[in-house]
């Protein structure tokens, strides 16, 4: 069983970011199933954890349900991340979330990146803002990022969005099924080794 966590930074109800996260999650499960892999998606709306994220930022440790989410996150087989485009970038809430994830914990994590926005003119936000973030975290963002403008949820754009969703989900499934992720363990070093390193 593969566990995928789909993270939406959408703030409103209903939220187009949430809708896109659900869509990508469904499609990823479908793609994995066609490769003989069972998968489940947990949808997470960061709005529900907004206070906990900021508390973690200020105190240095996660608490309560948010701490449990953090544990599930680092053990997930893949994550889907959907951010609304705010002021030409990743939303502060989504960035703050990744700012408080312990560094190194997302190494090797397959990531499907997606963003929403009022207009398609912001579609490169995935390439200039999200991809460097996940490269820094040494995660494995798949090649196709999915951007959905408001107009893509109906009319002509909808079919093209459908195609991008399927392509990105297929790429994610390829990574997940092809090379199962190894969860990074805390590396313990004994003292003789520490002494040698410093000598």
């Amino acid at each position: 069983m593969r566990n995928i966590i789909a993270i939406s930074g959408g703030l409103s109800t209903p939220s187009s970011s949430r809708t896109l996260a659900e869509d990508l999650g469904r499609e990823a499960v479908e793609s994995l199933r066609s490769r003989g892999e069972q998968a489940a998606v947990e949808l997470v709306e960061l709005r529900d954890h907004a206070h906990a994220i900021m508390d973690n930022m200020l105190t240095g440790f996660p608490t309560g349900e948010f701490a449990e989410l953090m544990e599930r996150l680092v053990e997930a087989d893949a994550i889907i991340v959907v951010t609304p485009t705010f002021s030409a970038g990743i939303s502060g809430l989504v960035k703050s979330f990744f700012d408080v994830v312990e560094k190194e914990k997302l190494e090797g994590m397959p990531v499907l990146m997606a963003a929403t926005g009022g207009t398609e003119r912001h579609s490169l936000v995935i390439e200039y803002a999200m991809r460097p973030l996940f490269a820094y975290l040494k995660a494995i963002p798949v090649g196709t990022g999915v951007y959905a403008a408001t107009s893509d949820f109906g009319g002509e754009g909808a079919a093209a969005l459908r195609g991008r969703v399927q392509r990105a989900a297929t790429e994610l499934a390829d990574v997940v099924a092809g090379a199962p992720r190894r969860v990074k363990q805390d590396d313990f070093v004994d003292f003789e080794t520490l002494l040698r390193r410093s000598a």
Partner: protein
């Protein structure tokens, strides 16, 4: 079990009246606080080490410790922490041995790496070498206190050839050392390797984390053959604010909490007290909470409370120490002692270390001491002659 207080010497504006103490006021208040700790029967006073505002904790703690020692009789003086990364271990060996003599052995120290990033470059070091500095510098300090003549070569300081750190430790027994760390397993490992104490400063951390770090230290202490895991020497931090009625404590402390450095303007006081050792309430609530620490880390040897931060006025801090000494610590002392199995040791003191070493070993000169470098004696004319 030892109980005491530790301070980081923060100069913080009192949020209830907007007044900020001067550095001089805060320094003299620190001395008052330490004297109060002895007066009410606490065992330990520990000072931080700081090199930047808004802190008045000394850059070299032995200066403050010697001053307090001269005005106290029994109080054990310690640090929280001594920066093992950016200080020269030779100076640490010399200064702490000296203060050990002045205090009659009433001193131990806690090593820490420091959490102010720029301190490293200020002292010509690189923060990325933090762990390696802690490992190498302590290895040298450890050797300087135990070997009269040391040859040394490492990465981080100039080599030493036939060097003797003076004065030699009192009675030939170095001060006991704790290693403080919040997150680094390497430091728990270091403490275990040497059979030193491990202090987890848990004041801003949830108990699951403290438990994990202490368990690692205990297991490794046993691995290195210093004793059983439950005989390892563990210290914890704590943070309390007390009034007779718990609601009075909550009301009085809330503005300090809400504006405090580190956690202010973040989680609510209710959330923070639930997740960390901070306890705001009646003395009974504090007793109950801290007795519970034993369930998390096992029998432990030292409990230090942070009591003087966030702009609390001196008068309030002294009242808090009174409550600790009169109502809280006597009960904790009795209850912990009743629960502690006989094979679990107390924290080492100078007396117990001297006894364990088979008595005091003072270096006694049998003939006039000659300077190894100049070939002269102290009373000789030591001026360099022009050639």
């Amino acid at each position: 079990m030892q109980f005491g207080i530790f301070t980081i010497g923060d100069v913080t504006t009192d949020p209830t009246n907007g007044r900020t103490p001067t550095e001089h006021e805060r320094i003299m208040a620190t001395v008052e606080i330490a004297k109060k700790a002895e007066e009410v029967g606490l065992d330990v006073f520990a000072t931080g080490e700081h090199h930047n505002p808004p802190f008045i904790a000394p850059a070299n703690p032995p200066i403050l410790l010697a001053h307090i020692a001269a005005q106290t009789e029994k109080l054990l003086l310690s640090t929280a922490t001594t920066l093992i990364t950016t200080n020269d271990p030779v100076r640490l060996a010399e200064d702490y041995a000296y203060v050990q003599h002045l205090t009659g052995g009433r001193v131990d120290l806690m090593m820490g790496r420091g959490n102010t990033g720029p301190v490293y470059p200020w002292f010509g070091k690189d923060i990325r070498d933090g762990i390696r500095l802690a490992v190498e510098n302590y290895a040298l300090l450890h050797a300087l206190w135990r070997n009269e003549v040391v040859d040394w070569e490492g990465q981080y300081r100039t080599p030493l050839h036939q060097f003797t750190a003076t004065p030699r430790p009192l009675d030939g027994v170095p001060p006991f050392v704790w290693h403080g760390s919040i997150r680094s397993p390497e430091i728990a490992e270091q403490a275990a390797y040497y059979g030193d104490g491990f202090f987890h400063n848990n004041i801003f951390w949830p108990s699951y984390h403290t438990k994990r770090m202490v368990e690692l230290y205990r297991a490794r202490y046993e691995h290195y053959g210093h004793g059983a895991a439950d005989q390892a020497i563990v210290g914890l931090g704590g943070q309390v604010f007390m009034r007779k009625n718990s609601q009075d404590a909550i009301n009085e402390f809330r503005p300090y909490f809400d504006n405090a450095p580190v956690y202010g303007h973040g989680p609510s006081m209710e959330d923070f007290t639930r997740e960390t050792p901070l306890t705001v309430g009646s003395p009974d609530q504090v007793i109950e909470r801290y007795l519970g620490m034993r369930d998390i880390v096992g029998d432990y040897q030292r409990q230090l409370f942070l009591i003087d931060h966030a702009g609390l006025p001196l008068k309030t801090v002294l009242e808090q120490i009174d409550i600790l000494g009169e109502e809280v610590v006597p009960v904790l002392r009795k209850e912990f002692a009743a629960l502690k199995p006989a094979h679990v040791p107390d924290a080492p003191t100078h007396a117990s270390l001297v006894e364990a070493a088979g008595g005091p070993k003072e270096r006694v000169a049998t003939e006039p001491q000659v300077d190894r470098w100049t070939g002269t004696r102290a009373e000789d004319d030591n001026e360099l002659k022009e050639v």
